[in-house]
């Protein structure tokens, strides 16, 4: 599903050049649930942003679902993001003046899906994360965990091939973190490929594979036995 070879990325700030990714080789197959770990500043977000086509690598190749991602113009990048990728951010990034349903429907709007169909689909995904009753609420009327579940529903709405989550539980307490992870596990059970950046060991162990980054290279990449979140009731 994802294949990158010899990926490099540097940030230039004035006269300083910060070499963040120093040759990453890495393959993710369909249906995997991968945790990316590493200390702060090790380049996890940078890597994820490149995978998400939000940023570009300086060097190396990136193939997503058989398509070589290279020198894309913004229009095509936007289409690929819309078609292939779903994003979940640490700070939720919901649009504050749109209600939960409208937020979930946004990727479908950019796909050109008709209003009725769009709302139907968005509702379906809200149900999936257990927030059907909250459809008409604005983000600031939701708890952190609820916001993140709306964000996950939004990421799923366009039926992407890969879900990219940058510290999705970073702003949540452990109970709500587990709720979010439970949803992620269930989506993964349905076959979705998911990459999660996390600092937390317990979250990482709820995945199926852990990739460890240090100073811009992968120092460890191992399959683990997944810890299932025990079924807790949704809020």
């Amino acid at each position: 599903m994802i294949e990158i070879t010899d990926l490099h990325k540097s940030y230039v700030m004035g006269t300083n050049t910060l070499h963040v990714l120093k040759g990453i080789d890495f393959t993710v197959n369909e249906g995997e649930l991968v945790a990316i770990m590493g200390s702060s500043g090790s380049g996890k977000s940078t890597l994820l942003n490149i995978l998400g086509m939000l940023d570009e690598a300086d060097q190396g190749t990136y193939t997503l679902d058989g398509t070589l991602i290279h020198n894309l113009n913004e229009k095509i990048a936007a289409r690929y993001r819309n078609k292939f990728l779903g994003f979940v951010f640490q700070s939720f990034n919901l649009i504050s003046y749109k209600n939960a349903l409208e937020n979930v429907a946004m990727p479908l709007y950019y796909q050109g899906v008709k209003r009725n169909e769009r709302n139907e689909k968005a509702m379906h995904y809200l149900e999936k994360v257990g927030l059907a009753e909250w459809a008409t609420h604005l983000p600031n009327e939701l708890s952190g965990g609820q916001k993140q579940r709306v964000a996950i529903a939004r990421a799923l709405a366009s039926e992407p091939k890969v879900l990219l989550a940058d510290e999705p539980t970073g702003a949540l307490d452990s109970t709500t973190s587990y709720e979010v992870m439970e949803i992620i596990q269930s989506i993964n059970d349905e076959g979705k490929t998911i990459l999660i950046v996390t600092h937390e060991d317990d979250i990482a162990h709820m995945c199926k594979r852990i990739v460890n980054l240090k100073d811009g290279i992968i120092i460890d990449d191992s399959i683990i036995s997944q810890v299932r979140v025990k079924a807790t009731s949704h809020v």
Binding site: N49, G52, L54, D55, E74, K75, A78, R79, R81, N82, K83, F87, F89, N93, I95, Y97, K98, M106, P107, Y109, Y110, Q111, R115, R154, S158
Partner: protein
């Protein structure tokens, strides 16, 4: 392009800060308001001044004689000459593009002594000997009876058509006018008609104090022989009198042995030239109105552009999110452009409406207080509204262009990182 989602997005964006939106809109509103008012004021002035021409055939000139200023063929300069009826025929024969050539004679004039008597009443009036065509060249309403006709001309009937002003001066308020006699310089004329001139000019009072009698009877009664005082000459619609008048002068100069280059011998007043000059003036006035209005509008547009820049900046993160969700650059750009166009057009339409309202009010006041000299019926026509609209759409596009470009200049990853 204009589906419901777009509209709700635009509405959301504009209503998120009402106060700012209204302030911004005011700049454009004001600009277009000024433009509309200036154009309307120009139109009012134009209407007012053109009304002074009344229905006068504007393709007309008046021609009289002056002192000859160049010696020619042994004749000295300083001579005077007089038009003759033969000149009229010669001009008719040589300049076929002319519609009317009316020879005229005149008695009295500004500040003249009393020349008209009826019973105990006397008055000083302009008395013209005219052909029937003059009514086409200087239109007047016949309020009773009739105007001069060719029967009068041929039979040299001593008939007179008097102005409403003459009537007031010589007659009591409920006296019959038609069929009565008036004495002009001692000669009796029978009144067969009264007129009122439409002209709204400042000398409108004077215009109603004239008396028209047949040219032939005038010449006979006042011993003018075949002499002609002056002429009113109107060209056909296709030609302009300004271009034809040299031909006319040439005919006259040849018949009166005047040097071809003598520009002073013949005096003329060319209505067409005056009219064109006034047309030109109003064209210039309109240009100025557009210029000033557009400049004021421009400052409004810059205001919109400025606000859109701020809005885009404020929404950097949101734009980043939208792009992560798959918004193409054109979706973002289009949103910003549309927002600025909608804002511009709505405030512009409000400005036009406000302008129309003010013009309507001014017209009401003008109507109520009677005509004002040199100003009447200020108005903007639909073509002005349409051009204002086009200007607005273009302005909106221009105002949104830089902000729209700014909205997608930043990389999605950087946009997402902003707080």
């Amino acid at each position: 392009m204009f589906n419901r989602d777009r509209w709700s997005e635009i509405l959301e964006a504009l209503s998120s800060n009402w106060f700012r939106t209204v302030l911004t809109a005011f700049g454009v509103l004001w600009g277009i308001f000024i433009l509309v008012i200036l154009l309307a004021a120009g139109k009012g002035l134009e209407n007012g001044v053109k009304a002074d021409f009344g229905d006068i055939a504007t393709n007309t000139m008046f021609m009289w004689t002056q002192t000859i200023s160049k010696p020619y063929k042994g004749l000295p300069k300083g001579r005077r000459f007089t038009y003759r009826l033969g000149d009229v025929q010669a001009i008719k024969d040589n300049v076929p593009e002319l519609r009317f050539i009316s020879p005229r004679n005149q008695l009295g004039g500004f500040g003249g002594s009393n020349n008209v008597v009826r019973g105990l009443n006397t008055g000083a009036f302009n008395v013209y000997g005219d052909y029937p065509e003059i009514i086409e060249q200087q239109p007047m309403d016949i309020t009773s009876g009739r105007f001069i006709n060719y029967g009068d001309i041929e039979e040299k009937r001593k008939v007179a058509i008097i102005g409403e002003g003459v009537k007031t001066a010589l007659y009591g308020s409920n006296e019959d006018v038609l069929g009565t006699y008036i004495k002009i310089n001692g000669v009796n004329f029978i009144v067969v008609g009264t007129y009122k001139k439409k002209s709204q000019g400042g000398d409108s009072e004077e215009d109603q104090k004239e008396i028209y009698v047949p040219f032939t009877s005038f010449s006979q009664a006042f011993n003018r022989g075949d002499r002609v005082g002056w002429m009113a000459i109107t060209a056909n619609d296709g030609s302009s009198i300004t271009e034809l008048k040299e031909n006319i002068f040439d005919v006259v100069k040849q018949r009166h042995t005047i040097h071809p280059d003598d520009d002073r011998a013949i005096g003329n007043f060319d209505l067409y030239e005056q009219y064109s000059r006034i047309e030109g003036l109003f064209f210039a006035l309109k240009l100025i109105a557009y210029f000033v209005g557009t400049l004021v509008l421009l400052s409004g547009v810059i205001g919109i552009s400025n606000i859109m820049l701020i809005v885009v900046k404020e929404r950097t993160k949101e734009i980043g999110i939208r792009r992560a969700l798959g918004a193409t650059p054109w979706a973002i750009r289009g949103q910003v452009l549309l927002e600025s166009i909608v804002l511009t057009i709505i405030s512009g339409m409000l400005g036009i409406s406000l302008g129309a309202l003010v013009i309507y009010a001014i017209n009401k006041v003008l109507d109520a207080n009677g005509p004002v000299d040199m100003f009447s019926n200020p108005s903007v026509d639909i073509s002005v509204v349409i051009s204002a609209l086009i200007i607005l759409i273009i302005s909106g596009l221009l105002a949104g262009f830089i902000p729209a470009q700014n909205a997608i200049k930043i990389k999605p990853v950087d946009a997402l990182r902003t707080e």
